[in-house]
Symmetry: C2
Subunit: 457 residues, 2 copies
């Protein structure tokens, strides 16, 4: 990897990339390119990429916008085909910047170069301990690398990338890749989607400020065999206008975008925080195959709140048969065996697990909303077992623990347990799980129908 | 205070109350009442309240439901007029329990006793270091007592009371009183509202599962000179039904409740979490007197997101005059001086404060949505000054800091700064502030009109 623009000047952003790569024990060679050919930390220094006595797989460009064109040309001459252009000052910055962007675009085409950016934060690959985000402190992502995961993000804004990484500190640590696409002059969200369709990613989260190639995005999303969650700015003309001045692009009609998402099976998110809170329902739980939810809690209050949230979100309360209710009464001293099931304040691992087993094995139930209290270690133990039961019965549970925000954060990160921070998030997770399931069903059906038609049936 | 039912048996809940009161240095005398007349910790023990050689201001009853009636009678004979009945097993538990509740109600009337409960958690008064919640560990609320505040809660469910207290650990610590009202056989939310109207409370949060005396609640709310925030279970018939089996009462028509809230100026909350997140916009900030919001951020992404959220929530983006924009450009090197104002990643205390001052002093602006980054101490310093500026200009700011959940929690509790955990919460806070302001305006007008009519004008 060559970092073009890394030097030892004060506030040099390229240096932060070199330092972070060395600190993270990234296995590849790192070269610094600067006018003085000075080494930057452990990275050897060169005046241009052509001086580097090795083949370069990837060049990261972080020089002032006016010099980017020249750097791209030099990369082309060296035979480097992959670039990440992090420099700002292009189409987001007015007419002059737009001119520069067009120029660099032509140069790249001329040499067959594909690139991410300009005006982006860079990319991270947790499995390879690779990150070329500028401005990060060495070691800042050690906790991500320690538990590389299966959730990948495509993010149009640099600031939002940092937010996602930071939020994950308190969530199930499960980051795979983060790709900040910025002005997306060449590679855009569709290209990255196509790439992520075939790697070790399980769920894809996307933050968008505009869509420049809508049909291409829809086709990529349709091809993807993985759930795609999108938060897009610009629901209102004012929001779209504000986004325009941030990363460049055209404002989009939100109604059209919404319809496109439905058609392509993209789950559209209601808040930016859901980009990090919702993926765990996909990575840790089977899909929700019906709308009949059994609610379990230690607190009658949350039974009522759950019922309200489920019904207003389009899901429903499972009607438990009298034999299921009978079994539940046999499992423990219940306050209520009718759904929502209320165990009262008693906590015993066996009772918890018996109830979970009875509910998940019931034909009346498609999924579980579990709201145990967290006073004891037994609740953590029961959640560990619940995750296994869900896999066994191929039904999901959304778990929320009232009364212990700090403990929720600890459980999530220490034990990698998919526990939600609010009951609203837990219900929303069930909704998107079912939404995605319903889409795959239609998709499978369509594939079957198409195949049958082709056979002339 | 007499704790009736406190003994040294294993799992005795009365003992937890005695122990907690002693541990918290509560200034009054605490007596334990149990069959063996045994002392419980530092509380002297007696067989009945009549044996206690002192006047009793308040008795807390926590004995099995069957024995509550007798305990109430003994309190009546002793001349105790104020009871908190925490025992469960009354109208929430079926016909037999309903009978017991009617009986104790008659006994209480006979002796002129007023009581809270049955089936409640108890009450807390942070200023008096008094708490008779059962089951709490000694010292569990020391952090609440260390910074007693001005937000009081009326809570129908015990579990939700604990949740509120726990949530506040990570919020601006500002609890005044918590009153768990349970089955509200005698005193209900209206009575407590009337009481809180004249104490050191600034904002009232209410969690309700049912309303038994609707007109009384509306009248109390109308009389209250303080903002009232309510979360009520039972938006759907299923939710109302589930709540029924928890604390007793009749299900209510949600549409009617909604209309009643509007009439009485009660702010209805969309999620239970808002009970602890939203009061700070009232305790720390002036009311929002118009809909024109200026957005300030270090990240263009959040400018767009803010615009979307403001517009869809009924507020609007302030149109900054060209002279205001001119002043803003003079304050620093801005990415964008048109609202949403984007400073980019630069952070300087002077620039922050100059921008806040320019925006808040502008006649085009009614309130501020401030989204600074939190990389440096300077951001904390700027928020401390921003709170003062808001008081000076009599306009509120809702503050959200992307990219540092853990730091938000720290800033809130360590510095008592009103910083929201999500941008959605920040916008919602501005909405409810304006909603309450609009109500007070109507109320004042109506009072003026009524007065004028009375004078025959």
């Amino acid at each position: 990897v060559a970092i073009i623009g890394a030097s030892n000047s004060p506030f040099n952003l390229g240096r932060s990339i070199c330092d972070a790569l060395v600190a993270s024990d990234y296995s590849g060679a790192v070269y610094a390119v600067n006018r003085k050919a000075e080494p930057v930390g452990k990275a050897a220094g060169f005046v241009t990429v052509s001086d580097i006595p090795a083949e370069i797989d990837l060049a990261v460009i972080i020089v002032p916008a006016l010099h980017v064109g020249k750097a791209v040309r030099q990369c082309g001459e060296k035979g480097i085909k992959n670039l990440i252009i992090e420099s700002a000052g292009f189409s987001e910055a007015g007419d002059e910047g737009r001119g520069l962007q067009n120029e660099l675009s032509k140069t790249a085409k001329q040499y067959g170069i594909r690139y991410i950016g300009p005006n982006c934060l860079g990319v991270m690959n947790a499995h390879h301990r690779f990150c070329c985000f500028y401005g990060g402190a060495p070691g800042a992502f050690d906790w991500v690398y320690a538990k590389p995961g299966t959730v990948s993000y495509i993010i149009q804004s640099g600031g939002v990338s940092s937010l996602i990484v930071d939020s994950f500190k308190h969530d199930v640590a499960n980051i795979n890749k983060i790709i900040s696409i910025g002005n997306k002059a060449d590679l855009d969200e569709s290209d990255v989607l196509d790439y992520l369709a075939h790697d070790n990613t399980e769920v894809i989260g996307i933050y968008l400020e505009n869509v420049s190639r809508g049909r291409k995005l829809i086709e990529s999303a349709k091809r993807s065999p993985k759930p795609i969650l999108v938060y897009k700015v610009g629901k209102t003309p004012e929001g779209a206008q504000a986004a325009l001045s941030h990363t460049s692009g055209m404002a989009n009609n939100d109604v059209i975008f919404d319809a496109a998402c439905k058609q392509a099976g993209i789950v559209r998110l209601a808040s930016i925080g859901q980009l990090h809170s919702l993926p765990k329902i996909f990575t840790h739980m089977p899909l929700l195959k019906g709308r009949r939810i059994a609610v379990f809690s230690n607190s009658g209050a949350f039974g009522g709140i759950s019922a309200d949230l489920l019904l207003t979100s389009g899901l429903g309360l499972a009607k438990l048969s009298s034999s299921t209710q009978e079994k539940l009464r046999g499992a423990g001293k219940l306050y209520n065996a009718v759904n929502p099931v209320d165990l009262g304040p008693s906590v015993s691992l066996k009772t918890f697990l018996d109830i979970y087993d009875i509910l998940l094995s019931s034909d009346d139930v498609d999924g579980l909303l579990a709201i145990p209290s967290v006073w004891k270690q037994v609740v953590i133990d029961s959640i560990i077992e619940l995750v296994k039961l869900c896999k066994h019965y191929d039904k999901p549970a959304a778990i929320y623990i009232p009364n212990a925000v700090s403990r929720i954060l600890e459980i999530r990160t220490t034990h990698s347990l998919p526990v939600f921070e609010s009951i609203e998030d837990a219900v929303r997770a069930l909704v998107v799980s079912h939404q995605y399931y319903a889409y795959t069903l239609k998709k499978d059906k369509r594939v079957l129908i198409d195949a049958a038609n082709a056979r002339g049936e």
